[in-house]
């Protein structure tokens, strides 16, 4: 759908069935699913950071990033399994491979990435099998970004208006939020002498995140509302303040241990808030028929007008003359 179609939606004039939602609210739960989005991103961006740290001779940062990645991905898999309606059947995820299902693609990605991230961390912590550790580090670094990015398709490939309509921007927002979190955690955990790549990643991530967010809100038109109101709005706002504060602090005082740690903590928190905000915005947009009906009605009216080449009915009025009861009886 093009942007101008949404901007033309009249604010309150839409029909509905007793104000009830047209689509189902996602049954995915909080904190499990937004938590997974955050942890998966944190892990997925920590792995390339770990590889960069390792191969640029920063073992402290490499160890921290590998441990973070393994811990985060382990936790996130627990969250995913626990959110299933039938957790004992989690392995059914690997019955088939379906490119039309982001969840299927993601399950396969996780089963490649998870063990690699785990092995990389295990070798780094124990100091055993350094060669295998290097292979695992590279494997996790290569698959990690895909883990951080695919969750955008997972949300966007739904009927949920605030997620689906954001399908162009969400992948970029998700990877930048992931970079913010991974860089931020590096700043928090590692001494500034070793933390340069984490600081750089955090700066790039936070800047990109702020940009992606404002693009998303601009492009969504009316469907941006769920991101700006209620619980989601408060979370997104808090995230933005934390991102900006963390970004500034990391840029200015990132070489001071205390300031760097504070900046890092703010950035990690901002990434989590962003994920929760996006999650709740989607839920809200699904629960309010306005966001489903408004853009569709508008699109349909435009199509119908095009088809029949006549001028549109006034907004909110029935398109055609209503039926009389007598006519109905006659038509039987």
């Amino acid at each position: 759908m093009k942007r101008d179609e949404q901007l033309m939606v009249p604010a309150a004039e839409f029909g509905s069935y007793y104000g009830r939602p047209v689509i189902k609210e996602p049954v995915w739960g909080a904190p499990a699913i937004p938590g997974y989005l955050f942890l998966g991103g944190l892990a997925g961006a920590s792995s390339p950071l770990a590889a960069v740290a390792e191969f640029s001779g920063r073992p402290g940062l490499a160890l921290a990033a590998k441990t973070t990645a393994a811990g985060a991905i382990g936790l996130s898999v627990v969250a995913l399994v626990q959110d299933l309606g039938r957790p004992t059947r989690f392995h059914h995820m690997l019955r088939v491979f379906k490119p039309t299902s982001p969840m299927s693609v993601g399950s396969w990605l996780l089963s490649a990435y998870g063990p690699a991230a785990g092995a990389a961390a295990a070798c780094a912590i124990t100091g055993l099998l350094p060669a295998a550790g290097r292979v695992a580090t590279v494997a996790a670094a290569v698959t990690g970004p895909a883990v951080a990015a695919y969750t955008a398709a997972l949300l966007a490939d739904t009927a949920v208006p605030a997620w689906h309509e954001a399908h162009r921007e969400l992948p970029y927002l998700f990877v930048s939020s992931a970079a913010t979190a991974a860089g931020g955690l590096g700043l928090l955990l590692v001494r500034p002498e070793q933390a340069a790549p984490a600081r750089n990643l955090a700066l790039i991530g936070a800047t990109a995140e702020l940009t992606a967010k404002s693009l998303l809100l601009q492009r969504l038109g009316e469907v941006a509302e769920p991101y700006q109101s209620g619980r989601a709005g408060r979370l997104m706002e808090a995230a933005e303040i934390l991102t900006a504060a963390g970004l500034t602090a990391a840029a200015v005082g990132g070489r001071n241990r205390i300031i760097a740690a504070l900046a890092g903590a703010a950035l990690v928190a901002s990434s989590a808030f962003t994920r929760f905000g996006i999650f709740f915005a989607g839920r809200m947009s699904a629960g309010d028929p306005r966001y489903t009906v408004g853009p569709q009605r508008n699109r349909k009216d435009r199509k119908d007008r095009g088809d029949r080449g006549i001028s549109p009915p006034p907004a909110g009025k029935p398109a055609r003359a209503p039926a009389e009861r007598g006519d109905l009886a006659a038509a039987r």
Binding site: L84, M93, M103, D157
Partner: protein, 267 residues
């Protein structure tokens, strides 16, 4: 988009596509379809509430509601007040979002072109619930699995009519080969238009629509949203190729950002 999803799903030799035509202009709101569906399919109770929504205490389709009769009281309807009733059901989409996103393969296309959940495969991930543009499929609290109308797969395989259509006393719910139903619906629409029922319209049947045409379509007397139906649904997976492209470039950008971050030499 062809109206033969069974062939696209690999059934070389298959029966004609079967479906429902629900003609709401003759619905009397008796809810026999709701009851017959529950009885035949062993669908559990779905809540006993008094909603104040006219005679509708069922409220919406869901895991334990596979037929739902909507009641709309139009008191200020020009001419004369009217009471609309419509029995809603899974659309058995030609391009089914639920089926596309299901990661386990639990949702499947039958030889009749219908869409069915295999309960022994479903792990309750809930992806289908978020993907259906009509809010049809739901996850049941009690067993954690996703459920919806099967178009009585067990009955039609034996040459029987689905329970709801069988029970419908006014033939508002008609079952049959989709081609026949489409002809019948067109004729009925013309009759109604000739009789001056100008608001009458077919809903979901157009193969050119956003779901490639529904296997269960409707004749409505007002706009779809009045009945709680989306006016112009588009299956979400039509945009998936574009989503994957953006995911790929975003992932590449993240990898590049990490590499750039490491520039500036060794510690």
């Amino acid at each position: 988009m062809s109206l033969d999803p069974a062939a696209r799903s690999g059934y070389a030799d298959h029966p004609p596509r079967m479906g429902f035509f629900t003609d709401t202009s003759v619905c009397i709101g008796c809810k026999a379809c709701e009851v017959a569906c529950k009885e035949w399919n062993g669908v559990p109770e779905d809540g006993l509430e008094l909603t104040g929504m006219s005679y509708d205490n069922t409220q919406s389709l869901g895991a334990s509601t596979w037929r739902h009769v909507a009641f709309i009281e139009q008191i200020d309807h020009p001419g004369q007040p009217r009471w609309l009733m419509a029995s809603d059901v899974c659309k058995h989409c030609t391009e089914a979002g639920c089926l596309d996103v299901c990661p386990t393969g639990a949702l499947l296309r039958t030889e009749f072109g219908t869409v069915v959940v295999q309960d022994d495969v479903c792990n309750g991930c809930g992806n289908c619930v978020a993907a259906c543009p009509f809010g049809v499929i739901g996850r049941r609290e009690t067993d954690g699995g996703a459920h919806k109308c099967t178009l009585c797969y067990d009955r039609i395989g034996d040459g029987l009519t689905p329970a709801c259509a069988k029970a419908c006393p006014t033939e508002s719910i008609q079952f049959g080969p989709l081609d026949e139903l489409r002809d019948r619906a067109q004729a009925r629409l013309e009759t109604l238009h000739e009789a001056g029922v100008a608001g009458a319209q077919l809903y979901g049947e157009d193969p050119g629509n956003g779901i490639g045409g529904a296997g269960a379509f409707f004749l409505l007397l007002d706009e779809p949203e009045v009945y709680g139906l989306p006016p112009d649904p588009v299956v979400t997976t039509r945009d998936l190729p574009r989503m994957w492209r953006h995911v790929a470039s975003a992932a590449a950008a993240l990898a590049a950002a990490a590499l750039i971050s490491g520039l500036g030499g060794r510690a």
